[in-house]
Symmetry: C2
Subunit: 119 residues, 2 copies
DNA sequence: TTGACATATTCCAATATCAGAATATATTGT
DNA sequence: ACAATATATTCTGATATTGGAATATGTCAA
């Protein structure tokens, strides 16, 4: 069978480096039009527009109309979901001693902080 | 021009739901062979093997040989990178008042906690 | 060595994805 | 209405990705 119709979720949205650049830029400037984004990140206008489309579909950015401009800004809740998901692995990177402790924990069965299934 | 040769980084690795499932499973059980993973997550053995290959190339899992088994376990440092990157947007999801405060901050120029460019 | 088991690799078909060029759709100002 | 500006959409070509089937590789045990 072919590939499943890649539903457009946050993880997919941030998998593209240019899109992460866009998000970082929006984090810095707060709000920006498509043209400014394209110029700042040195990309073609259609490329910027399309990436913003993906980000919007994923619910990571918001659009606001201002005259003939479309001002994009962050909508970070979904990014928070990613943050939370990665956080479930926290005990695996803390420190050497923590890693040993974690191994002991999981040897005694899934603890209260065991990573959960995919969102 | 075509697409750039998608270098296999963490963001790309975790963009696939099944791979996130694998990571979560490894987080729960600590270490597991390919067959067990395939059975538990109800996927074909080659599929599991291939996904694990991607995760390994991305440096998110480790392999250890044990007889005829290959035991995979987490190597969470790269996941931590994702955690840190999403963390740079923290001030955008904290609360309504924080969001207003953030807007005021960025109006006065990029603050000390401004999100950085892509890793 | 032979056989059974565990995992990896190769090949294939169906999509998905990206950049770039050209074009279409607003929206504002004259 | 017309021109200029800002953004979105459509089309195309190259490549990447995924699952599935078949096969290869590696390892233990008798």
């Amino acid at each position: 069978m072919p590939r499943p119709p890649a539903t457009r979720d946050v993880f997919l949205a941030i998998a593209e480096p240019r899109r992460r650049d866009i998000l970082s830029l929006l984090g810095r400037v707060g709000e920006s039009g498509v043209g400014a984004i394209a110029v700042t990140l040195d990309m073609a206008q259609p490329a910027a527009s399309k990436h913003l489309g993906v980000l919007r579909e994923a619910g990571v950015v918001r659009v606001r109309r201002d005259g003939r401009q479309r001002l994009y800004s962050l909508q970070a809740d979904r990014l928070r979901a990613v943050h939370e998901w990665t956080r479930t692995f926290e005990r695996y990177w803390s420190s050497q001693t923590d890693r040993i402790k974690a191994r002991a924990e999981q040897a005694a069965g899934p603890g209260p902080h065991a990573p959960e299934t995919t969102p």
